[in-house]
Symmetry: C2
């Protein structure tokens, strides 16, 4: 029955397309609402309205509010892990840390909502992603600490505690996303321009690279 098979494939294909598109719509809306209202303050109704779908559809694609939230948090974590590659294969701290700061500042600009959701999740004791902290993040951190320690041993930077350097990199770059509203208020109520983002990235990079004696 080639005919019905073809129709079935097409139908199935369309269904998959609709599913993927709707899931994306829902996840984008959810990221924004969770960031702006917190998990407890977010409502499925608000997310549905922002996604342009009836509330019941959300429960069709994501069984519970928590399942939807979990996916949002996972998405952000993966984006940050990708940025980790900037760190690897660098000859020294100037290239490695410079690239990492640029990558993370770029993420802060393009995914401010995701960064805020992550921050809130950690502030609340990481009820949903504690396992990621203990496995993936811990391994990642120890790997980069080893790289930094090697740079220190090779005389490419001052003997800074690698752990606190990493915390400083996370804190300074994510601050531009998480506290973006405060920064905007102190910028006469205006969002940072392209030029201001470049200046911010440059300032952060310069202070840190000088601070660790790499330049």
């Amino acid at each position: 029955m080639p005919d019905t098979a073809r129709i079935s494939r097409i139908r199935s294909g369309r269904r998959t397309d609709i599913r993927q598109q709707n899931e994306r719509l829902i996840l984008e809306a959810a990221e924004r609402v969770f960031a702006e209202a917190g998990f407890g303050g977010a409502t499925m109704q608000l997310i549905a309205d922002m996604a342009g779908l009836p509330k019941a559809n959300l429960h069709y694609y994501f069984p519970t509010k928590e399942a939807l939230y979990r996916r949002v948090v996972q998405n952000i974590f993966e984006i940050w892990l990708d940025a980790a590659s900037s760190f690897d294969g660098a000859a020294g701290p100037v290239e490695g840390i410079g690239a990492y700061v640029r990558a993370k500042m770029d993420i802060s600009r393009r995914h401010p909502h995701g960064s805020k959701v992550w921050a809130a999740e950690v502030m609340h004791g990481a009820p949903v992603i504690q396992d990621y902290l203990e496995t993936t993040l811990r391994a990642w951190t120890e790997g980069r600490m080893a790289v930094i320690q090697r740079w220190i041993d090779e005389g490419k930077m001052a003997p800074i505690d690698p752990r606190h350097l990493l915390y400083m990199l996370w804190a300074t770059t994510q601050h531009y996303a998480d506290f973006g509203h405060q920064i905007e208020t102190l910028n006469a109520g205006e969002a940072l321009s392209d030029r201001q983002w470049r200046e911010a990235t440059e300032s952060v990079t310069q202070i840190i690279l000088r601070g660790i004696g790499a330049i």
Copy 2:
């Protein structure tokens, strides 16, 4: 009627004592619950249980959940404003910024809940304290930027953008409170010891003071 007057004074005095003590109990519990669950996730019942009072008493002292939250946020803001004095009257960046970092790291350690509540409030667009950002915080920021600029003009530090230096100071110090759970997880699940707090403060201070060319 000296007798009744005395009794009345005593009664009134006791009432005031009870009021102050209960308000303090409620505010401490509220700070913790708001920090760990967010405004939307916090419940008056949970705060009441943690304060050891019946729920209705909370509504006697604070008319609404939002009024209670507002007081918590204001408390934190005042604590940070006090720390601002570390900045003033310093001969140069080594003393001024050094003292400010120490003061803010100390607050991150002693008031982690308050710091988290503030962070969440800002992340949500500062619905409650937007006026503080536009008045008090803006004035404070401009004042310190002028001080930093003077240090630059006097050749006491490199020509860093004062604004981004301030953001870095806020980001790095508050990170130890707001992301304390992540830091603890990466510290084998242990809270930082006295010694580790000193090392963290020292690392932050050293990197920043070197980074701005002050040492």
